[in-house]
């Protein structure tokens, strides 16, 4: 394949043009428009109290969603890979549901289940003092729902690949289940986990549809950053809308850069190749390096 020069260059050109038209150029325009009225206007737009509130809320929600999805993501991954039980394949398929179903539908579903006045579960919670819908818990739930598969889809292949032998070795050396998980399994999946966490974080920061339904969009209370973007845009405050968009896009790009640096090959983990030394195991070996 490497020898066929023309094909290679044509392929590259097609991919580059495609990515430019679809992603690079539009995102660049967001940045350009954010600074269209100068840096002062950009900073003013972002330091407006309601915008600051919205970004704070977004950070809190994303942090909670990531923590929840990390804990449950690892639990579900271990369950899926290390145990066989009836309904395992259905569970595995169900985990992809948040990726395939529209976030708006997710929002409506949560509204039906946890709505304060006529939800299936909501009135009970509300009478005990926990308001879910039109409050932060609902926004966290919606965000956790849509980013659920990201950690699991990263961790499951790695868990499958490392197999069970290291864990069995740990058990035979006296480790209990928790020690085995913490000392053997967790270090083995750590890069996949970090990768999944960063992706979840990026996804959580940008969630819009599900959050819009369950939050009620109350300015200064349940308005997240993406909702600010929409509202400013509809009120013809273009600069404010683009400024907030720019920050969200920058966060996502930053996350992707982090992920790229963490990918195997860039990782600081000891992946030095086994030197193809001729084993002379019974005599004293000299350091081949």
């Amino acid at each position: 394949m490497n020898e066929r020069g023309p094909v290679r260059y044509v392929l590259r050109a097609i991919v580059l043009v495609y990515l430019t038209l679809l992603i690079v150029w539009p995102v660049f325009l967001v940045g350009k428009n954010a600074f269209a009225e100068g840096t002062g206007a950009f900073v003013d737009a972002l330091t407006e109290p309601t915008t600051v509130d919205a970004f704070e809320l977004t950070l809190v929600v994303a942090a909670w969603a990531v923590v929840i999805n990390t804990v449950f993501g690892v639990l579900i991954s271990v369950l899926l890979v290390r145990y066989t039980f009836p309904g395992r394949r259905i569970l595995s398929a169900l985990i992809d549901l948040p990726l395939s179903v529209s976030p708006v539908v997710v929002g409506l579903a949560l509204l039906l289940a946890y709505g304060g006045t006529n939800g299936w579960f909501g009135p009970t919670l509300e009478s005990s003092g926990l308001q879910v819908i039109y409050a932060t818990p609902g926004i966290i739930m919606a965000t956790a729902f849509v980013s659920l598969p990201l950690v699991i889809r990263e961790v499951v292949p790695v868990l499958t690949e490392i197999g069970t032998e290291q864990e069995q070795a740990a058990v035979s050396l006296g480790a209990n289940a928790w020690q085995t998980f913490r000392r053997i399994t967790l270090p083995a999946i750590r890069w996949a986990l970090v990768y999944g966490v960063v992706l979840s974080l990026a996804r959580s920061l940008g969630e819009f549809g599900a959050v819009k339904i369950v939050s009620g969009n109350i300015v200064g209370q349940t308005q997240t950053a993406t909702l600010v973007v929409e509202e400013r845009y509809q009120n013809f405050e273009q600069t404010a809308a683009y400024a907030a968009s720019f920050v969200l896009a920058a966060a996502a790009v930053l996350a992707l850069i982090v992920v790229t640096l963490l990918r195997p090959g860039h990782a600081a983990a000891p992946t030095i190749r086994a030197s193809a030394e001729v084993a002379t195991p019974l005599t004293t070996e000299k350091d081949p390096a």
């Binding site: 290291q166 058990v171 000392r183 195991p281």
Partner: protein, 324 residues
């Protein structure tokens, strides 16, 4: 007796992996579980370790009933075919793992790790990661890790199976010497009869979930209890309707009583050894014969010669020495 196995059975669905296994493993000895793949030997080893549960029967280790004891409380050292090295830990941390789990004082752990690494000749690799070691080195690290916890028994599951032939041979000799030094009751699984014959004090031949025979290497080789054991422990050929070893056939250039006459149809020389294929004049399958090159030359044999074959009856313990 160090390990007592009584009435152990194990099924996987319809497949009978083990059926009514009764076995005593003597203390301080090196015992081989030998048999073809899928015969149940690894399952038996994993049941002893507690990594697998038996459907029936009991396992007793050093007089204590271990049948219901979880693997982590059995104090057995287990070595896996593919090393099961903890990839994110240095060699020293790998070896220290079991001791750290047991919450031994740091200086004691360090001392024991040094001692173990000296035993397996990996002292200067203490700070390496497993990925920086060769296969043989990794397996010796795994052995040090298993021995560090001073296990009641050491179990090895095809320990040299993933290594190339030369390293395998070296490690085998080395395991034998190590065992003579450490004297821990050791059970290892292998499908390589040469490995079992060379290393083990006692061999247990397992086939299709059952024990075919238990004995010393000599007993098994000279008095096989069944055709299966005979053919599994070494090469066999059919002479006059009976299974015999190719090197237990006497080749004569002239007529001898009670012999089969035939023509040499193939001549293959491998080092000091000559392998002949003799097609009987009376018809039937060709007979495989092994003899030393000197023997063959002295008798003036060549491809196409007519020869007379008969079995050298292997008298117990005094049969013709195998060229080595």
């Amino acid at each position: 007796m160090s390990i007592e196995i009584a009435g152990v059975g194990r099924r996987f669905g319809d497949f009978v992996a083990l059926e009514d296994i009764n076995l005593s493993v003597p203390a301080g000895q090196l015992t081989a579980l030998l048999g073809p793949s899928g015969g149940g030997k690894s399952t038996l080893l994993r049941i002893i370790a507690g990594l697998e549960n038996a459907d029936s029967g009991t396992v007793t280790i050093e007089g204590n009933d271990a049948t219901r004891l979880p693997a982590r409380k059995r104090n057995v050292g287990f070595v896996f075919q593919h090393y099961a090295a903890f990839k994110h830990m240095t060699v020293a941390r790998n070896v220290a793992f079991g001791l750290e789990i047991r919450k031994q004082p740091k200086d004691q752990v360090a001392e024991r790790v040094r001692e173990m690494l000296r035993l397996v000749h990996l002292e200067q690799f203490a700070d390496r990661y497993p990925a920086q070691l060769s296969g043989g080195q990794r397996q010796r690290m795994a052995l040090a890790r298993a021995l560090a916890i001073e296990p009641s028994v050491l179990l090895l599951d095809e320990p040299f199976g993933a290594l190339d032939a030369k390293v395998r041979k070296e490690l085998r000799d080395w395991l034998r010497r190590l065992h003579d030094e450490v004297h821990v009751t050791t059970v290892f699984v292998t499908h390589d009869q040469e490995e079992a014959l060379e290393v083990a004090d006692q061999i247990v031949v397992i086939n299709q979930g059952r024990i075919e025979q238990i004995g010393t290497p000599d007993e098994l080789y000279d008095q096989p209890a069944s055709d299966f054991v005979l053919s599994f422990l070494g090469p066999v050929t059919t002479l006059d309707g009976r299974l015999v070893r190719p090197h237990d056939i006497e080749v004569a250039a002239g007529p001898v009583p009670d012999s089969v006459v035939g023509t040499i149809t193939r001549w293959t020389r491998i080092g000091y050894e000559v392998r002949l294929e003799v097609t009987p004049t009376s018809g039937g399958d060709p007979v495989q014969v092994q003899l030393t090159r000197n023997d063959a030359l002295q008798r003036g044999l060549a491809e196409g010669s007519t020869v007379w074959l008969r079995e050298v009856a292997p008298v117990n313990g005094a049969h013709s020495p195998v060229p080595a």
